[in-house]
């Protein structure tokens, strides 16, 4: 239980301490009172039954937290990326290799999401970069509230890049905005080229698709052109980078995209 907002985290655990503040927004609602009686009631005898119109987005609470996170990132000039993929696509390796390339030039930090263990956060911390682990317990995705808590402990530097490595899952994280600037979908070529069609919500929500493990192309039946066509069919705006985090081939395109996205994020910030 949080001390300030009284939220119950269920099975979620976040490393380190637990003090925070956040805004609880309000929504506009209105009631239609049909008076005392069975008006609009579906069962006879329920004299107190009445209808209430709510018109509220199911994800409104998550979206309020996401919006608060986004404001914070904007005020601090932080570029935040939500990395999503199936388990085993190489997200953590991509991160450690990206950190190795960039940590002398840019301030970086990482939020790691997994159901259990702090293995990934430990891998990141071994590179010398700040990282915090969120364990979602049985949860299949991170939500904006958990990320808000993690931010209070992680305290990412202003003008930095924050990577959020979501739980390995191509379905659920698509619906939950964390306040990020972009979702980045990572697809390894040991998976099928039709993943963008099988999990269209995720590839629709992403602004960049990274095709990882390209060094394995000679050994697998993966049709790169077909995969790109499927991704563009689901999301005509999506950008695509092909790379191998292991060999380093193609990493320069990813780094170029990161730097360009950071420059865009900083336009607002420097204008303040």
């Amino acid at each position: 239980m949080c001390s300030v907002c009284g939220c119950s985290e269920g099975e979620t655990t976040i490393e380190h301490s637990h003090e925070h503040q956040h805004d609880h927004g309000t929504d506009q609602n209105h009631t239609h009172d049909y008076g005392v009686g069975a008006a609009h009631a579906h069962a006879p005898g329920l004299s107190q039954a009445r209808m209430v119109q709510i018109e509220q987005d199911i994800l409104s609470k998550n979206n309020q937290y996401a919006s608060a996170n986004r404001d914070y990132f904007s005020q601090q000039g932080i570029l935040t990326l939500n990395l999503v993929s199936s388990p085993g696509s190489g997200k953590t390796t991509l991160l450690t290799e990206t950190i190795a390339l960039l940590k002398e030039q840019l301030k970086l930090s990482v939020i790691e999401g997994d159901q259990q263990t702090t293995h990934d956060a430990e891998r990141i911390r071994a590179t010398g970069v700040k990282a915090i682990q969120i364990n979602t317990g049985k949860g299949c995705h991170l939500d904006a509230h958990q990320v808000g808590h993690a931010l209070e402990n992680l305290k990412p530097a202003s003008e930095s890049i924050l990577f959020i490595e979501n739980v390995g899952n191509l379905v659920c994280p698509a619906s939950f905005d964390l306040g990020e600037a972009h979702k980045v979908a990572i697809l390894s070529i040991t998976e099928g080229e039709d993943k963008p069609l099988k999990y269209p919500d995720m590839f629709y929500a992403a602004d960049l698709m990274i095709l990882n493990k390209m060094d394995l192309l000679p050994y697998v039946d993966f049709d790169v052109e077909q995969c790109i066509q499927y991704a563009k069919q689901v999301n005509p705006r999506i950008k695509i980078v092909q790379l191998s985090a292991k060999t380093g081939a193609g990493m320069e395109s990813w780094v170029q995209w990161l730097k360009a996205s950071r420059s865009v994020q900083l336009i607002d910030y420097t204008a303040l």
Partner: protein
């Protein structure tokens, strides 16, 4: 199974609204779910019953109103109906469609006491 956390969000809203709208029991919940939202209606029903157990919406009836997917085709200059995100325009076959309906996940209305 993010339907579980969606149902928990629904319960949060029902509990929050109970004070504001002055009710103590919810007997029916109407949801509007877009065909292009990543919600599986059967999974939603299953989770709904489980999550509402023991709450102000215990044994409440869940009514799901499905909204068809709709997108704007800039070549045809009109709205077309689609079933999946990757559908091409049923008229001209182009896939540069702008989705404009069918992505919602909303609580529409409640029957309360």
């Amino acid at each position: 199974m993010h339907e579980m956390s969606l149902c928990e969000s629904i319960l949060d809203i029902l509990e929050q609204q109970a004070g504001e709208q002055n009710y103590h029991k919810v007997s029916t919940v109407w949801l509007e779910i877009g065909a292009l939202s990543s919600v599986e209606s059967d999974a939603m029903r299953f989770c709904f019953d489980a999550v509402m157990q023991g709450s102000i919406a215990d044994k409440a009836r869940l009514e799901i109103v499905t909204v068809q997917g709709q997108a704007w085709c800039s070549l045809c200059n009109k709205n077309v109906m689609i079933e999946q995100r990757y559908d091409t325009c049923p008229v001209c076959g182009d896939f540069h469609l702008q989705i404009n309906d069918g992505e919602q996940m909303r609580i529409k209305e409640l029957e309360v006491e």
